[in-house]
């Protein structure tokens, strides 16, 4: 080592050393497989005719013309772009560099466009692009909040299978308090409290009593399902008007931004919770990577012994992380009862917490990637409704299945390398 540091260009050598990246060939392989599958699909199931994309809605300040393209041409063109991206990814890996995050992002976008072009060919129905994007974003709200909470918890070393129950309890709390006060803000606050409550129960068992975190998570989900079901039929149904009729958040158009064609009405004419989501993603990223709190949290998640040695109180850091995570997930739970609809229903989260968990893993325990994964899963869920409108030959069940299949491939390592924080899921026992 001393010989290396003695060389004249020692700075660049050490700089190189600092940039050691584990190059994984799995990204180009995965992209190539998807491209091949798409080629097979389009090649076997040729669909003649035009596909229509509608970019403007009635009342938009700027009216854009409806775009009609040849469906098969769009599909084949998208395949060409996908192939180029695969070559680019191979190129990055060949030069010992990680494929940058924009490669899979652009890949996903182009693949979706090509798929839509193929699926809608020959149909008279138009794709409402604005509401497609808006629907994806709206459906992704609880998933993004759930994934962010999951990332915070797991980065601190606590596996959070209980995202589902935090979402559901948040929705439940927002419904009752929001109905009693006729105020969605107070309802949202109650959702946050409810999420923290579930997170603290998880903490008591997982951190203090060192019960297996997965067991606690699974059991908490069962418990909250049962509890909310019980209270719903015993308390909410008999007092529906007083306890289960919330005032929803109104959509707020952001001046200026909302006038951008397509993206404006899709992204900036939303309810306040959606704007909170836009802010939450960078905030969580900043908190995790640029603050002392985040550094300690990640230290506790990777190597609690070492963190303890330098005086970090492991249990306290984990409790605080779980409380913050619970608050974030609870905020997502509020979506169901003060944004989406104005009343609570039995088990209304319907497995969203597990999709959020999938997004955490698919996003490699990184807040931004996890949020993007959640957005992708939201889009997949949203797409199945649209596809049935244009009469696409894809059963809706397969679109709904997609997030789960993708996650299995992700944890199996076919889509990038998923490495959990080193101490994820292990209780810390001070020696």
């Amino acid at each position: 080592m001393s010989a290396v540091t003695a060389t004249p260009d020692s700075t660049s050598v050490s700089a190189d050393l600092r940039h050691v990246v584990v190059v994984s060939r799995k990204t180009p392989i995965a992209l190539a497989i998807i491209t091949a599958l798409a080629t097979l699909l389009y090649g076997l199931g040729s669909r003649p005719g035009y596909t229509h994309f509608r970019f403007s809605e009635y009342g938009d300040p700027v009216q854009l013309p409806t775009l009609s393209v040849n469906g098969m041409a769009t599909a084949w063109l998208s395949l060409v772009v996908l192939a180029v991206l695969v070559v680019a990814a191979v190129g990055f890996v060949a030069r010992q560099r990680k494929a940058p995050v924009w490669v899979p992002l652009v890949f996903a976008l182009v693949a979706i466009i090509g798929f839509l072009g193929w699926a809608g060919a020959g149909s008279t129905a138009e794709y409402p692009v604005v509401s497609l994007v808006r629907g994806s974003v709206v459906l992704a709200v609880p998933l993004v909040f759930g994934a962010l909470g999951g990332v915070i918890g797991e980065r601190a070393g606590v596996v959070n299978i209980a995202i589902e129950s935090q979402l559901l309890f948040g929705a439940f709390g927002a419904a009752i308090v929001g109905s009693l006060t006729h105020n969605p803000y107070v309802g949202t606050l109650a959702a946050i409290v409810a999420g923290v409550l579930v997170a603290l129960v998880l903490g008591v068992f997982a951190i203090t009593y060192r019960v297996d975190q997965i067991i606690v998570g699974v059991v908490l989900n069962v418990l909250v399902y049962g509890l909310t079901d019980f209270l719903y039929s015993q308390v909410l149904v008999p007092n529906g008007t007083r306890l289960n009729t919330t005032v929803r958040f109104e959509g707020v158009a952001i001046p200026g931004l909302s006038r951008i064609p397509v993206l404006g009405p899709a992204l900036f004419r939303q309810s306040i919770l959606v704007y909170a989501m836009y802010l939450a993603v960078p905030m969580v990223w900043f908190a995790l990577y640029r603050t002392r709190w985040g550094l300690r949290l990640r230290a506790v998640g990777e190597h609690p012994q070492a963190a303890d040695t330098v005086g970090i109180k492991v249990a306290r850091v984990r409790y605080r992380a779980l409380a913050v995570a619970g608050a974030v997930v609870g905020l997502g739970g509020a979506f169901y009862t003060v944004v989406s609809i104005s009343s609570f229903g039995r088990e209304m989260t319907a497995g969203a917490g597990y999709i959020a968990l999938a997004a955490v893993i698919f996003g490699k325990w990184d807040p931004v990637r996890a949020a993007l994964a959640a957005l992708l899963f939201g889009a997949a869920t949203n797409l199945q409704g649209t596809l049935s409108v244009v009469g696409a030959p894809v059963p809706s069940q397969f679109m709904l299945m997609l997030p789960y299949v993708v996650t299995i491939l992700a944890v199996a390592g076919f889509v990038g390398r998923s490495r959990a924080p080193a101490a994820d899921g292990t209780p810390y026992i001070k020696e």
């Binding site: 997965i214 067991i215 019980f230 308390v235 059963p395 397969f398 789960y404 299995i408 199996a412």
Partner: protein
């Protein structure tokens, strides 16, 4: 301090003047600090919390609390009526119907409980086998659904002679469950993918596959129908009733008991089971001892999935024989986890826990019908039982049971040294 020193100290207390007294104390300590005391404490604690929930949400109790200051005894009697009524109707629906006029009708609730327990026994065994080998199988739902797909398709799609048809369908269901769990096992063995995540995701994949099969004519959907439901099972494939047409208990219960015996033999007497437990205790040591850990991982999932698959096929051939939809698992896949935890992953423990939860299920329905307490209270009580069992220090603290390792007087010092 070394073990040798500890051993040297130990004989002294046995020769002490209070040796006999100590022995009784020790026996009592074993009983109250043992795991069974904790299980019992957890059940009592959970039922207590359930009582509070019933009382707190009862209309009569809330009315009586309104004038608590004037007549407090009304509140207590209202609580007594609400909680007593709920639990007595639970008992009436689960064990013995004391309103019934004939012995047959009175005993029917017990057979209903056993019917409800049947899939819980086998699915619980499947999860327990995983636990013993250090694996967490949350995929019970998916494995049951795939078993139902395989067994159900044989059950209504083929025409085979009696008995053979049933056995072939059962075998198909077992294989279906084993394959679905095997996916998780193979992925874990080859790529290190965590089985918890994979089995959770496989639950949903199975659910949507079944949804697709049920919604597509020519696959599982009953011919001439647009409902997402299969055709009824062929009579030759249906598991016969055990106690005649008056009772719902079917041969699935016998198969479940056989599965208990098989699992006991597998875990306690077979070479494969020894390997399972060795890997569960310490995979590194097992590898050093020459056990193929990867192969064992796959085998554990296959056996666990097969047992859960038996539960799935029991549902379609025994309990719901008129055709099934996508809710055929009836939450058994998740309850199996709580059953295995309550039963401490031993075959006999699982049998007992499954019968208890089966009784909860059967009695819960009666409770809902008789006194209007929603059946979900059962789910809450079950979850609480498992939470409390998972945290023995909590239960011991509530009931002031001695913590294990904290021994009375002089023995305490020795115990601490031995533990160290």
């Amino acid at each position: 301090m070394s073990a040798a020193q500890a051993a040297a100290e130990r004989p002294q207390q046995h020769h002490g003047p209070e040796a006999g007294d100590d022995r009784w104390r020790e026996a009592l300590r074993r009983i109250v600090s043992g795991s069974w005391a904790v299980s019992l404490g957890a059940v009592v604690l959970a039922i207590l919390v359930g009582s509070i929930m019933i009382a707190a949400t009862d209309q009569g109790v809330r009315t009586a609390i309104g004038y608590f200051g004037a007549r407090p005894q009304d509140t207590f009697s209202a609580i007594g009526t609400a909680v007593g009524g709920a639990y007595s109707s639970l008992f009436r629906g689960a064990v013995w119907d004391f309103h019934a006029t004939s012995f047959g009708n009175a005993i029917r609730p017990l057979t209903d409980s056993l019917t409800q327990a049947t899939p819980l026994i086998t699915a619980g065994l499947g999860v327990a086998v995983g636990f013993r080998a250090g694996q967490f199988n949350i995929g019970g739902r998916g494995q049951m659904l795939m078993a139902a797909v395989a067994g159900g398709w044989i059950g209504f799609g083929l025409n085979l002679p009696p008995v053979i048809h049933m056995l072939v369908a059962i075998a198909a269901g077992i294989i279906g469950g084993a394959i679905w769990a095997g996916v998780a096992g193979v992925l874990k063995a080859t790529t290190g993918a965590h089985e918890v995540i994979v089995t959770i995701m496989l639950n949903y994949v199975a659910f949507y596959i079944l949804g697709y099969l049920l919604a597509t004519p020519g696959l599982l959907q009953a011919p001439g129908s647009s409902n997402p439901k299969t055709a009824p099972m062929k009579p030759n494939a249906i598991m016969p009733l055990l106690l005649g047409p008056k009772f719902a208990l079917h041969w699935g219960f016998i198969f479940a008991l056989l599965a208990v015996a098989f699992t006991w033999w597998l875990l306690e007497r077979s070479r494969l089971g020894f390997e399972f437990r060795a890997v569960g205790e310490n995979p590194a040591a097992a590898r050093v001892a020459g056990i193929d850990v990867k192969r064992t991982t796959v085998a554990v999932m296959l056996v666990g999935g097969a047992l859960v698959g038996l539960a799935g096929v029991t549902q379609v051939l025994g309990t719901t024989t008129t055709g099934f939809g996508d809710g055929i698992d009836a939450g058994v896949g998740f309850d199996a986890i709580t059953v295995a935890l309550l039963g401490r992953s031993t075959p006999l423990g699982v049998l007992g826990a499954a019968i208890l939860f089966g009784a909860f299920r059967a009695g819960g329905a009666t409770m809902q019908a008789a006194v209007g307490v929603p059946i979900e209270i059962v789910q809450v009580v079950q979850a609480l039982i498992v939470l409390f069992i998972a945290a023995p220090p909590l239960v011991r603290a509530v009931f002031r049971l001695p913590q294990p390792g904290s021994r009375p007087r002089r023995a305490a010092a020795t115990a601490a040294e031995v533990a160290a």
